[in-house]
Assembly symmetry: C2
Homo-oligomer: 226 residues x 2
């Protein structure tokens, strides 16, 4: 039996990363999933990440605790209100400074330790919130950085950061995930859920999700407050 290659998969518990995990598993990787308890107001997504990880039989799931509320600077990690008026041009207040750089750094550390050369992340630069750390040029620069800052450079191999959703619309992502067996009812997207964990329906993340399901013509299993 051929030994599977290992991959570290960043898993937020949302629609995109669940699809990425399904994709990586389908590609034949043994998946090591990693989530971050970073002080986000929608901490409930971590439960979704756990469910999704189990659903796809990840080899191991880690939730890394880091406190980005220390300096705040984002509507997701401070008392700044989550905008509900719809997507606008520019970088929104829900942007968390350097979040993906931090998340990917931990992924690289874990990958290097377990001997994985592949990292999967669900960034997307089409139906997205305009976050700079979701763009292809950042992902490319980070891959180079990961290779140069680890044993990879001494051993003559390169880290590969896979971003299979980079150029897909939200509708395309949902179509792909549905084909790969993602159960979107166990995912969570909302930035500002109520005390019962129900999605607000109005934040950028809810809007992008709803629009995607509408376009595909599949019923969104999410319970929305509004």
């Amino acid at each position: 039996m051929k030994t599977k290659l290992k991959a570290v998969v960043l898993l937020s518990g949302g629609l995109d990363s669940a699809t990425v995990l399904a994709y990586a598993a389908k590609k034949g990787f043994e998946c090591y999933t990693i989530s971050f308890d970073y002080g986000q107001r929608h901490r409930i997504e971590l439960k979704a990440a756990n469910r999704v990880s189990r659903h796809f039989h990840a080899a191991h799931h880690f939730t890394v605790k880091i406190d980005l509320r220390k300096w705040g600077g984002s509507a997701l990690t401070s008392s700044i209100k989550v905008p509900k008026g719809g997507l606008r041009p520019g970088i929104p207040t829900t942007y968390v400074p350097a979040r993906n750089t931090i998340f990917l750094s931990f992924a690289v550390a874990w990958a290097e330790t377990i001997g994985a050369k592949d990292i999967f992340i669900g960034v997307n630069s089409l139906d997205y919130s305009g976050y700079p750390d979701c763009r292809p040029q950042f992902i490319k620069a980070f891959a180079k950085c990961a290779t140069l800052g680890t044993k990879a450079s001494d051993e003559g191999w390169k880290f590969k950061i896979h971003a299979p959703l980079q150029h897909l619309t939200k509708a395309d992502i949902i179509r792909l995930g549905t084909k790969l067996g993602v159960d979107y009812s166990i995912t969570h997207s909302c930035y500002d859920p109520d005390s019962k964990g129900r999605a607000c329906g109005k934040c950028d993340s809810c809007r992008l999700r709803r629009k995607g399901f509408e376009e595909v013509g599949i019923k969104d299993p999410t319970v929305y407050v509004d």
Copy 2:
């Protein structure tokens, strides 16, 4: 009165980063110092980082707690023994996977939040342990990554990662620090101190430090067990 530019300075509590803080302060930056409680066996260095930060009147000092023992992979974060036989070619077991990538990511997040464009790090690639994340090509790649993954890219400015010790010998660093008023008695370098916090004298970090002081002809204020 001219407003000082802000800079984030990575501070381990060791000889190098103390010198870098002195350097950044001398250059006129308002310094924000950051240390990491990452599960290192020489956690005592964090007390030194606090002392050094106060000594140079840093505007703010953060100790970020992250647990790199989760996956280990290093003599500093697991039960692997710290080597005491002297420096050898290759990457030693004290290398912590992707440590500087992680540390710099947090520094960038804090810098972006407070409006700092400058980050200082005490990496050195001359009298060093052969860690890949201390080399100039990594630092350069990381700077690019930091710019592309943050608001910097949208606002048209670049992060600068200063590594003023990059090409200095340990002796040169001690000379520079002494000129800048660093009190090396409040720093800590040893990877494997005893229960009283005394330096082992035999690990790579102790060896490099001792050699540096010997070359300069200044008495090393460290108390060594051996």
